[in-house]
């Protein structure tokens, strides 16, 4: 669905993208993670046809982004809504711009209002709503026309738990219906919740790509024992079960608690970043 090959984008002396390559299939959710400045937002802007790359290729369904306007739904990182306009009026605008008319538009609005828990807010002006509510509206305006490619740039940043869950549920539903999704986030547990494949960006490039299991293979987890005198023993290991048995055999005092922690996405990111830097 989305093919991005060797994108380069510079802002004066700053190189935002430096050979960024990524492909996303229909129905796939790709969690794009990376520090601020890794190039995630520039990538989203180029695929959205808002920016032009200096070099490299982008195709959506085999066509350049300019030829598939309207098949992409974008929720930008920052809230971008009209504060004096109601939620319903926003959805009408973006629905109509997406090609929806009359009954189809009404149905799409009603469906999204339920899914994103906006039903009670429909006739309120967005400027008077909370940050979390605005996040849900922003997501709704990006999804109202059922885009085939969804670019969601930190769609839950600063959002409450209810908002986060509502957005994640809709994203999973739309991916289940065949939409390709690029989901950038700093909240790594969201990637697990979405069952997304992962792309790790750093310094304008994708430095790792794969499923969670593929990427964490070989990374150390942690075994932690707490003794009855509250002393803690913590060991980083790639073989947690064997290490746990060994520690239990060698413990000189009774053990009051055992904690086994598999490698997390945070561990993965730090490991990749360290490897890439070296």
């Amino acid at each position: 669905m989305l093919e991005v090959v060797d994108l380069v984008k510079r802002y004066g002396p700053v190189t935002a993208l430096d050979g960024f390559t990524l492909s996303v299939a229909s129905g796939e959710i790709v969690g794009l993670v990376g520090h601020n400045g890794a190039g995630k937002t520039t990538f989203v802007e180029i695929v959205s046809n808002l920016l032009r790359q200096d070099s490299g290729h982008v195709t959506i369904d085999g066509k350049p982004p300019a030829d598939v306007r309207g098949q992409v739904g974008v929720a930008p990182q920052h809230i971008a809504l009209y504060p004096t306009v109601t939620v319903r009026e926003h959805l009408v605008l973006f629905g109509r711009l997406g090609g929806l008319r009359r009954a189809a538009l009404d149905t799409a609005i009603d469906d999204l209002a339920v899914l994103l828990r906006l039903t009670d807010l429909m006739d309120r002006r967005t400027g008077r709503l909370s940050g979390g509510q605005q996040r849900r509206i922003q997501a709704a305006t990006a999804l109202i026309h059922r885009p085939r490619l969804m670019l969601l740039d930190e769609p839950t940043a600063g959002a409450d738990l209810e908002t986060r869950q509502a957005i994640l549920d809709v994203v999973k539903q739309r991916a289940g219906e065949g939409a390709a999704v690029v989901y950038t986030t700093h909240y790594l547990p969201e990637i697990t919740e979405l069952q997304a494949t992962i792309a790790v960006a750093r310094d304008g490039r994708v430095i790792a790509r794969g499923t969670y299991d593929e990427l964490i293979e070989g990374l150390p987890g942690e075994v932690r024992l707490t003794l009855d005198n509250e002393e803690e023993i913590s060991v980083s290991t790639t073989e947690p079960t064997a290490t746990l048995i060994d520690l239990l055999n060698r413990a000189e005092r009774p053990v009051s608690a055992v904690d086994l922690r598999n490698p997390s996405l945070d561990d993965l990111y730090h490991s990749l970043a360290a490897r890439d830097a070296s």
């Binding site: 802007e45 930008p76 004096t84 306009v85 605008l93 711009l97």
Partner: protein, 247 residues
């Protein structure tokens, strides 16, 4: 195409209606000033009523540049312009849909002030109202284009406010909106020709007098200004305000 333009125009009309303070003040203020200044102008000039009505109408319609500028600049403040650019609507549809409601507001403002001028100030009833209507449309187009171009150049609402307010006063005064150009100093008479306000005033006074041949030159100048400013604004707005662009 028309469906999308209508959707954007309707949306922007709603946005305009929810924040009407600026346009109300640009209609009410010249009405009050026309009434207060009329005796002075009638005593000082042969065509005092025409001067005070058309002059203040031109001056306050130039202030409405800020209206166009603010409307476009708000899209940047709210970060909404790029969201529209991602949609199916190409840049030209966005621009037409965005600016049409502002154009209507400007035409409405000028029409109200002309009617008020006729009823309350003694502006001669135009022999051919259609020429006045045409003059209003041309002037509103030029103002809209200048305001849109300005909005792509300034960095904040404050900057826009300073430029449009000071610019409106300077250009309309130099153009003869407050004092007829014929009794201004020689340097001002020469400089006045550089002001769109001068051409607007000349065109409107010719239209009120039913002298359509005298409208031709000022109308052409204003259309040219509008086209150049409009093309500049369209080019800048089509590129949006993404990082690395415009600013």
């Amino acid at each position: 195409m028309f469906y999308r333009i209508a959707a954007i125009a309707r949306h922007n009309w709603i946005v305009r209606l929810r924040d009407p303070g600026q346009i109300i003040s640009y209609i009410a203020m010249p009405m009050v000033l026309m009434l207060v200044l009329k005796p002075l102008y009638v005593r000082a000039l042969d065509a005092g009523s025409t001067q005070v009505a058309t002059g203040l109408m031109v001056m306050f319609s130039v202030f409405a540049i800020g209206l166009a500028g603010n409307s476009i600049l708000s899209e940047r403040t709210w970060r909404t312009w790029d969201r529209l650019r991602v949609s199916r609507a190409p840049a030209i549809e966005l621009l037409v849909g965005k600016t049409f409601p502002i154009f209507l507001v400007m035409v409405l403002q000028q029409t109200i002030l002309v009617i008020y001028g006729v009823i309350a100030i003694g502006l001669p009833l135009p022999a051919e109202p259609w020429w006045v209507a045409l003059a209003i449309l041309i002037w509103a187009f030029a103002l809209l284009a200048i305001g849109a171009a300005l909005a792509t150049l300034v960095r904040s609402h404050g900057e826009l406010s300073v430029i449009s307010d000071v610019g409106a006063l300077t250009l309309s005064s130099l153009g003869g909106a407050l004092v007829p150009l014929s009794i201004m100093p020689e340097w001002a008479q020469i400089a006045g020709h550089a002001s769109p306000g001068y051409w607007a005033l000349t065109m409107l006074q010719a239209a009120v007098a039913g002298n359509e041949s005298a409208m031709l030159l000022p109308a052409s100048v204003l259309l040219a200004i509008g086209l150049v400013a409009g093309a500049f604004a369209a080019r800048r707005l089509a590129r949006g305000w993404s990082r690395g662009k415009l600013m």
